[in-house]
């Protein structure tokens, strides 16, 4: 009797955790119907709340695939990586995840993503733009075709520039400002001094958690001091890549004299020139509290849909020695533990290519990943979207790719944030390298 009681208690305690697993297995395929003789297959997908794929693209997929249904769980973008880490270790992961593309190699190395090469139609791999192909591949295998791409450009308030007597930067890549020119313009355009700044030269970052330092936006301040054409053993060359080619060390790549000079320039924007604030200001550019901002082509839709009340323009990203923009965006992948790998892979490929990918690009003005779609999107050859498209093709590089990118991203973001707040650039970059050493070498 006591044993029975104990068993009953045990069953009651574990029942809630077992029940969903049983339910998922039962729910995966519904009973056959006339339209779907094999039944309707349910694919489970995890995605961030405000990122693609959007309802329009999902509706297109459903119309073309009536025998596949989607169960979508959404989380805030800030919790996405943690959620994926927990689900990956669980026995009940979703079939498909929408995740941040630079994490592809981390997820692939950990064995949680399925390589998609066996499912890719002929020609798709060759159709992918180079930065995405590099970012989404690991040890020769492709883990995601990619949904979209982003690059950064310099947005400016044309009215404020005219008032300050600043000639706007050119619209082609060869007319890009250097950072020295940009800083001069930030200073001229800024209004107010000391504690009474009313209009900042450069808007604060709105990426990550809104503090300075986000690798996507701010690491190019250092990398632009490098040169990929320099001798491979030179510090100038290493500065450009910011991590060794095998992703095993950042020592001598992230803390080079050139990177430290770039970090010093970055810090001076906050502490010496004081042309950008250390803390975030919501919608600083749109509300006329900043003359310039660095943002992606996403930003155009916001300015177009809601007139900010001033004329604005876009120019290529400024540079110091070598122009560079970071690439990488949200993408789709199949979990290696999925019980429906083929169906999930077909879903991911359908969302990333052909008419659905075209619909996403048209509706959002975000750069597509497939080169074959560009002729169908004439707006990408016209101002202002052409700047982002040309940057992607000529200046675009993934954030330093590594199987430990998530860790690199966290440590370098914290280091750049601290440098913006006043930490000594050399000491802080050395500390970041020290923290990265055991992680990257593992």
């Amino acid at each position: 009797m006591p044993r029975l009681l104990l068993l009953a208690c045990l069953a009651a305690a574990i029942a809630p955790s077992v029940a969903p697993a049983i339910a998922r297995a039962d729910d995966a395929v519904s009973a056959p119907t006339v339209a779907c003789p094999q039944g309707v297959l349910m694919l489970h997908m995890l995605k961030p709340q405000t990122n693609p794929p959007y309802p329009g693209q999902l509706a297109l997929f459903k119309a073309a695939n009536p025998c596949v249904a989607l169960d979508i769980a959404e989380v805030p973008f800030g919790q996405l990586a943690d959620k994926i880490a927990v689900l990956a270790a669980s026995g009940e992961p979703p079939d498909v995840i929408v995740y941040d593309g630079p994490n592809t190699q981390s997820y692939a190395a950990a064995g949680i993503l399925l390589p998609l090469d066996p499912y890719l139609p002929a020609g798709v791999k060759d159709d992918i733009v180079a930065p995405t192909l590099a970012e989404h591949s690991y040890e020769g295998k492709l883990y995601s075709p990619g949904l979209q791409q982003t690059t950064l450009a310099l947005f400016y308030n044309a009215d404020m520039l005219a008032k300050a007597g600043i000639t706007p930067p050119g619209r082609t890549l060869d007319q890009a400002w250097t950072w020295a020119q940009a800083l001069d313009a930030f200073k001229k355009c800024q209004q107010g001094e000391g504690d009474n700044v009313t209009v900042w030269g450069l808007a604060p970052s709105r990426f990550g958690n809104g503090t300075p330092g986000f690798v996507y936006r701010d690491l190019p301040f250092l990398r632009t001091w490098g040169d990929p054409k320099a001798p491979p053993d030179s510090s100038v060359y290493k500065t450009y890549w910011a991590i060794s080619p095998d992703g095993k060390t950042a020592d001598g790549w992230l803390n080079t004299p050139e990177a430290i000079a770039g970090a010093q320039f970055f810090q001076d924007l906050f502490s010496v020139a004081k042309v950008t604030p250390k803390a975030g200001i919501p919608d600083a550019f749109q509300t006329g509290r900043a003359c310039f901002t660095l943002d992606t082509s996403y930003f155009i839709a916001g300015l177009t849909n809601k007139d900010p009340g001033f004329k604005w323009g876009v120019a290529p990203m400024p540079y110091t020695r070598t122009p560079i923009v970071h690439t990488g965006s949200i993408t789709l992948g199949v979990m290696a533990k999925s019980a429906h790998q083929e169906a999930a892979a077909k879903f991911v490929i359908a969302m990333s290519t052909g008419p659905i990918a075209l619909d996403l690009a048209r509706s959002t003005h975000i750069l597509p990943v497939m080169k074959s779609l560009y002729p169908s999107l004439p707006e990408l050859t016209q101002y202002p979207l052409n700047i982002f498209a040309e940057e992607l093709n000529q200046w675009g590089h993934p954030r330093p790719p590594s199987a430990k990118f998530a860790q690199y991203d966290k440590i370098v973001t914290d280091a750049l944030r601290d440098i913006a707040y006043g930490a000594a650039p050399k000491a802080r970059l050395d500390a970041a390298v020290r923290s990265l050493r055991p992680i990257l070498a593992r």
Partner: protein
């Protein structure tokens, strides 16, 4: 006899099981994980490193800084909250005007979510539009970089915790004050003791049990602080607000080093246990009433 054991098992079994599954098993798993090197993304691929993670904790400047910052924060909270709460409790224990209103105002932050409070204080201390800097500039003082300055971030969070936790400590002190027999103070008055002497020689010694409880609770609350670095500072600037609870979270999830995070947790747990025991011993009541 068997029937009696069955009855006992029926009553305590489910709770014992829950306690074992959700309290004791995680501690055992933490001890086990602290001896391994692995990633949360792929926990099946793990290698035994023995005490290697513990050695890393004790030699890594970032971890040592996290310990130092956390205990500095706890000390800051305890030494500011205890006297403030005690004085407020003494005020609320007297027949003074607006007592009920003050009690409500003081206690309100206690029942507010830690994340809400951290978010609210982020706005208050924000250098561009924050209320606090607005007041400073209005009276002719320079703006302060509360959360972005290495020297000001930790004191700013201590200030926030003082605001949040004073109410709880005050209520505890108040209940302690109200439990002290009135006759003892009256007797001291008859013997000619002044108000200050009564406070020092009667009230404070008799409040020893309450004080011990408040000190232990404030210490434990402070050592568990997680929302401030998560919401307000991200552990910066330069690790000056990288409290251990946040450091453990970052190590396990962002840096994918759950083995190292477990080792930090074990060391932290032992230190907190030792501090609590020490506090209970030092503040042991020498009086009974």
């Amino acid at each position: 006899m068997i029937r009696r054991w069955v009855t006992i098992a029926a009553f305590i079994g489910p709770f014992l099981l829950l306690l074992a599954v959700f309290q004791y098993w995680p501690v055992v798993a933490m001890l086990r994980d602290s001896l391994y090197d692995f990633q949360l993304l792929d926990p099946s691929r793990r290698s035994f490193v023995g005490l290697g993670n513990y050695l890393d904790v004790l030699t890594d400047p970032d971890r040592l800084q996290a310990f130092a910052v956390t205990f500095s924060f706890a000390a800051g909270v305890v030494v500011t909250v205890i006297p403030t709460a005690f004085l407020l409790a003494v005020y609320l224990n007297g027949a003074l005007p607006a007592r009920a209103l003050v009690r409500t105002i003081v206690f309100l932050p206690v029942v507010t979510s830690a994340v809400v409070i951290a978010t609210m204080w982020t706005f208050l201390l924000e250098p561009n539009n924050g209320l606090v800097d607005g007041v400073l500039t209005a009276v002719g003082l320079p703006r302060l970089d509360f959360l972005t300055s290495e020297s000001q971030a930790l004191p700013s969070i201590v200030l926030m915790m003082l605001w949040q936790q004073t109410g709880f400590a005050t209520v505890l002190f108040l209940s302690g004050l109200q439990a002290i027999p009135r006759e003892l103070e009256d007797a001291a008055s008859v013997d000619g003791a002044s108000a200050l002497q009564r406070l020092r020689h009667v009230t404070l010694p008799l409040l020893a049990r309450t004080t011990m409880f408040v000190v232990v609770m404030m210490t434990v609350f402070s050592l568990q602080a997680f929302a401030p670095p998560l919401v307000m500072t991200g552990g910066g600037p330069d690790g000056t607000t990288n409290f251990l609870a946040y450091d453990i979270y970052s190590l396990a999830f962002s840096l994918q080093q759950p083995g190292l995070a477990s080792a930090v947790s074990v060391i932290f747990m032992l230190i907190v246990l030792a501090i609590s025991l020490l506090q209970m011993r030092l503040l042991r009541a020498r009086w009974a009433y």
